[in-house]
Symmetry: C2
């Protein structure tokens, strides 16, 4: 069948998608039962709700592309890293399926979320099937580091779950500290991106030092991404953002810039407005954005994102890897962090 | 701290619980974050909703006890089988946490289900954390078969998910065949019990033939259990059953005896009543039970349960294992299948 990417993202990501997409479809068909495959094919964007092919390749495949690069960083081929790439994308999409239910989100990438189409039980089960398949795919790899890589993937998954747990808990709390919020973002977003950058290397049997540098690179990129994503959610350009500007504030999300501001001195008005029970009007949302900015939340987040990018570059510089792989990592990182700024 | 089992189940199960319960609490604390641990401790029955210790050991620990025996069957010690035992109980409880949400069940073992206490998002996450921890625990085992055992556990988990998927889908269907229903029960209940009986052996590096015999034993026991459970749900003694007699019929569940009857000739009245939209009164439920019995559903299920028990015994007889381990397997099987007849 003919499938063409909707648009070019970056040369490295385009190559990643070309490598990963067909293998991912095979993995879904091999490891998931027919009913679960149908839901997965819809969720990934390959089929519509009735099972008809859409011609789409699915998502941007950032994590699997990083995993392919990770194998090459350790002297393997991209092909060697493929099981790691598939496992990363399966775990990532397991989390999306379950998060959409928890958050009550009805659309993702402009399409109805799986739980709205197939019902909540089926969407829970499809997530369960994907995380199970991720382990199966990775352990089936004929590679020296399959066991170690799976242990790392499970540890990252557990951190991601902790991050989502904290995110859910924060909704009910008025006293979230900035340190807690940074930790939550590191767990929820950083852990899996760090794992993506290290898993291919671990799979092909890289030494621990290299795995650590690559993992640190990905973690910092993950946090930078989250900071930028939070900034865009408040002050972004509606035409270029992938989400509704102001929606995070209207939902009173404990995002990083907001928590930085809430913990600053002299923010009684912001606290009263944001932590109060009244629905926030459009005007109130704009006023909250101003209060967050005046309290230094925007500056802090921009500075912290820059710090994290520097730290990521330093971690990558410390890793002894081929020059072209380093450039490719930086290209993907630039896409991830800068894509909507 | 002092914890005492509420009542003796069987000597083998009592020993199993004594071995597994403390290790399971350690595994939960080690692998789950603090929030998820709190939910797990409630779900397992070790703590109340406020986190206060209950003094309970939790469930019957049938699956972990079988996993301990499985290691001994292959010449290992019960201790050798402990990681398999923990992984089985974690996967089993992952499925309970998610199934309770899907089925909207508000109580389990006489206590409020986790999702009613901690909310649905937290219960979804706690299930996710448990299946992730199961893999971590098993892969951490210093045993020759850790990787192979984890592959088997994931395959069984995937089958369990397929079984639950089919169960959900059957609710909307009027044309479920008996073969489909048997397969669903095999996937939903048999796969994990089969895995429990084989996983310890696989972990200590048993040869494939032994693993297969033990797995077949557990699968047949699982199906016999499901048949007996379905029979009790319709014709059981309310004082001895662990669930409300007639509830399955009132909910129009596609249980094995019912599907056997629905597929028999001359059951137009049963089909009209059971597949129709009218709520079933107490009288109608009793009438449906009679119609299922007259159509041969009860006889079929009783015969099939007996067949499965014979097949289980034959599978166990084919396995070359120590006599005391064989006796212990049969004791647990007798408890599982006969516990409420």
């Amino acid at each position: 069948m003919t499938t063409t990417p909707v648009r070019s993202l970056s040369p490295v990501l385009d190559t990643g998608r070309t490598t990963v997409a067909p293998a991912l479809r095979d993995a879904v068909r091999t490891h998931l039962g027919p009913e679960m495959s149908r839901i997965a094919e819809y969720h990934f964007g390959w089929a519509d709700a009735a099972g008809r092919p859409t011609g789409s390749w699915g998502g941007k495949m950032v994590r699997p592309t990083l995993a392919l690069l990770s194998a090459r960083a350790a002297g393997g081929t991209a092909e060697d890293g493929l099981p790691a790439a598939l496992a990363m994308e399966l775990v990532h999409n397991f989390s999306l399926l379950h998060d959409d239910i928890m958050d009550g989100d009805e659309t993702r990438r402009g399409r109805a979320t799986a739980w709205t189409v197939f019902g909540e039980p089926n969407a829970i089960l499809a997530g369960d099937a994907m995380v199970t398949a991720a382990t199966s795919v990775l352990l089936a790899a004929p590679a020296p580091g399959a066991r170690a890589a799976t242990v790392s993937l499970m540890a990252a998954t557990q951190r991601m779950i902790d991050g989502q747990t904290a995110d859910v808990a924060f909704e009910q709390r008025d006293d979230v500290t900035l340190a807690e919020c940074v930790r939550m973002a590191g767990d929820k977003t950083g852990a899996l991106l760090g794992c993506s950058c290290a898993l291919g290397a671990e799979l092909v049997g890289a030494e621990a030092g290299l795995v650590e540098h690559l993992s640190a690179f990905g973690e910092h990129i993950g946090l930078a991404f989250q900071l930028v994503d939070d900034l865009i959610g408040i002050w972004g350009d509606q035409d270029r953002a992938g989400k509704r500007i102001g929606a995070d504030l209207r939902a009173r999300k404990k995002s990083l810039p907001v928590v930085a501001a809430l913990n600053a001195p002299g923010t009684e008005e912001l606290r009263a407005l944001y932590l109060g029970p009244e629905p926030l009007t459009e005007t109130a949302v704009r006023h909250v954005a101003d209060l967050v900015e005046r309290a230094g939340g925007r500056d802090w987040a921009e500075r912290e994102a820059a710090h994290r990018l520097t730290a990521a570059q330093e971690a990558l510089a410390a890793a002894r890897i081929p020059e072209d792989v380093r450039d490719a990592f930086l290209e993907v990182a630039g896409f991830v962090v800068g894509r909507r700024l």
